[in-house]
């Protein structure tokens, strides 16, 4: 029975995606919304991404230096591990998990409120494909801005690590730089960006689905918002395993 329910939800999700990926009725209106969504979902998230990445980068560097590094290891290990963690996992997966909370709940509650206040019905009555008008710009907006967020996150994490070198003097800047430059594989950056793009699609489409299909009132909007965050987080974690294996 539960399996049937999941299949039913998956079917409704795919149908909604089918409706969403249709040609916009008015390109000028689509572009207007696209730019607005990039700003609202992406640019407005830069602050939290930078803040968290900076401190996580700093903390990883301290932890590795104080708890992992030993006299038997080269001095550049802390910098090297910080870079790898930031690039391989934090800047894509963990950062997207954080964003699924901020952006996902934002999308689900916005669309859910539009649904319960009949704004979506109003669009339909005007002869507008409401799914395409509302959801497509959100998905494309977040997907467009995500590579920048990933790059900013990785760079800020490294800056955080440098802050431990310059201000806390836990590690020397020379050792840190040596570690950060050691055996750099540029594919890791691309891998991080690719994962970010995929997760951006998950966050925006899953949250849109939960918000768009709300039935009821404000309690259901709140529940949809929570469900959107939980579901997109689980999907990100689950797909991260496969993506990491596929792309490595």
């Amino acid at each position: 029975m539960q399996l049937l329910k999941w299949l039913n939800t998956l079917g409704r999700y795919l149908l909604l995606m089918g409706r969403s990926f249709s040609r916009p009725e008015r390109m000028r209106m689509f572009m207007k919304r696209y730019v607005k969504e990039m700003s609202q979902l992406g640019v407005d998230s830069i602050g939290i991404v930078l803040l968290i990445s900076f401190f996580i980068g700093a903390v990883i560097c301290i932890q590795i230096k104080l708890n992992v590094q030993s006299p038997w290891m080269p001095k550049w290990v802390s910098g090297y591990v910080t870079r790898e963690i930031m690039l391989l996992e934090f800047s894509s997966s963990i950062m997207c998990l954080i964003l699924s909370g901020k952006v996902g709940s934002n999308i689900a509650s916005e669309l859910g409120t539009m649904r319960v206040t009949q704004q979506i019905d109003a669009l339909e009555i005007m002869g507008i494909n409401s799914a395409s008008y509302l959801i497509l710009p959100k998905m494309l907006g977040l997907i467009t801005i995500m590579p920048f967020l990933v790059i900013f996150s990785a760079a800020t994490g490294i800056l955080g690590a440098y802050s431990t070198a310059y201000f806390a003097q836990i590690i020397t800047p020379v050792d840190l730089t040596a570690g950060i430059q050691h055996s750099f594989n540029s594919w890791f950056m691309w891998m991080s960006i690719l994962k970010g793009l995929f997760f951006a699609f998950i966050i925006s489409s899953v949250s849109s689905f939960f918000g768009y299909t709300v039935k009821g009132g404000s309690v259901e909007v709140g529940k949809a918002s929570t469900d959107a965050v939980v579901c997109s987080s689980v999907l990100i974690l689950f797909s991260d395993v496969f993506l990491t294996q596929m792309l490595s």
Binding site: R28, M29, Q118, D121, A122, E124, I125, G127
Partner: protein, 254 residues
């Protein structure tokens, strides 16, 4: 003209509309009245295509809306305007942008012309100075008037209003009724209003259908409603003391 023929609508086993047959005429205010839960909103949502009927036909000037494909329905909907119970204005847009929205989506006018047309509609509903405000900054009555302006901006042939007076004081309700009545005549629109406001019934009900338990119980107008012997209709329309006295006075006069 909109004709409804043998319309049925069920949700699972529950039949909400049963064999509805009626005609909504051009240039007139057509009211759908009934108690809460009678099926008025379901009927209106079925008429505009937000719900699929289980059976039956909805003919817009002899074009069967039920049988239309998706593309034809979208095209058809551009001839409709709708005012929702809660106005359903877009929160993120200003009042002027809300009214201008259908023009932005569907017209080829240049921006200045679109703005001018939207302002004309705002002037028409006496909201000339509210263009820069957001829906959250204006009163419920003003929101309804903005919704009317948005509904008429594309010169629709059919105007649907789902309880336009809900949540409004009697004086503002009269303003809205008067506005809808004038606009219907001015633009020769087929207007269908879903209401249980008896002031509207007595004031603008040129054609009235009464629905009870999903069935059409009675059809008439504001003049014949007084003399109706339909018990269910009388229980609804003359539920208040005021309207009871109006009916008694009318009968005594005759």
């Amino acid at each position: 003209m909109i004709e409804v023929k043998h319309l049925y609508k069920s949700f699972g086993d529950k039949e909400v509309l049963h064999d509805i047959n009626t005609t909504f005429e051009d240039g007139r205010i057509n009211l759908i009245i009934g108690q809460s839960g009678a099926g008025k909103t379901v009927l209106m949502r079925t008429l505009v295509g937000l719900l699929e009927p289980t059976q039956g036909e909805v003919l817009y000037d002899n074009r069967n809306f039920v049988n239309m494909n998706k593309r034809e329905k979208i095209h058809m909907r551009r001839e409709m305007g709708m005012i929702f119970q809660g106005a359903a204005l877009f929160d993120s847009l200003t009042v002027l942008e809300n009214v201008q929205f259908p023009l932005d989506m569907f017209s080829d006018m240049i921006l200045r012309d679109r703005q001018r047309r939207a302002q004309e509609c705002l002037d028409r509903v006496n909201l000339s100075d509210a263009g820069d405000k957001y829906p959250g900054e204006i009163s419920g009555g003003m929101q309804k008037r903005v919704a009317i302006a948005r509904a008429i901006v594309m010169n629709p042939k059919y105007l649907f209003c789902d309880e336009p007076n809900s949540g409004l004081d009697p004086k503002t309700s009269l303003v809205i009724d008067d506005l809808l009545s004038t606009i219907t005549k001015e633009f020769d629109i087929t207007t269908i209003i879903n209401t249980h406001d008896m002031n509207s019934v007595m004031g603008i009900g040129e054609s009235i259908i009464f629905i009870s338990d999903g069935r059409k119980e009675w059809q008439g107008n504001k003049d014949t409603v007084i003399s109706s012997r339909n018990k269910k209709l009388n229980d609804l329309v003359f539920a208040s003391e005021l309207f009871k006295k109006v009916k008694e006075a009318e009968i005594a006069e005759k």
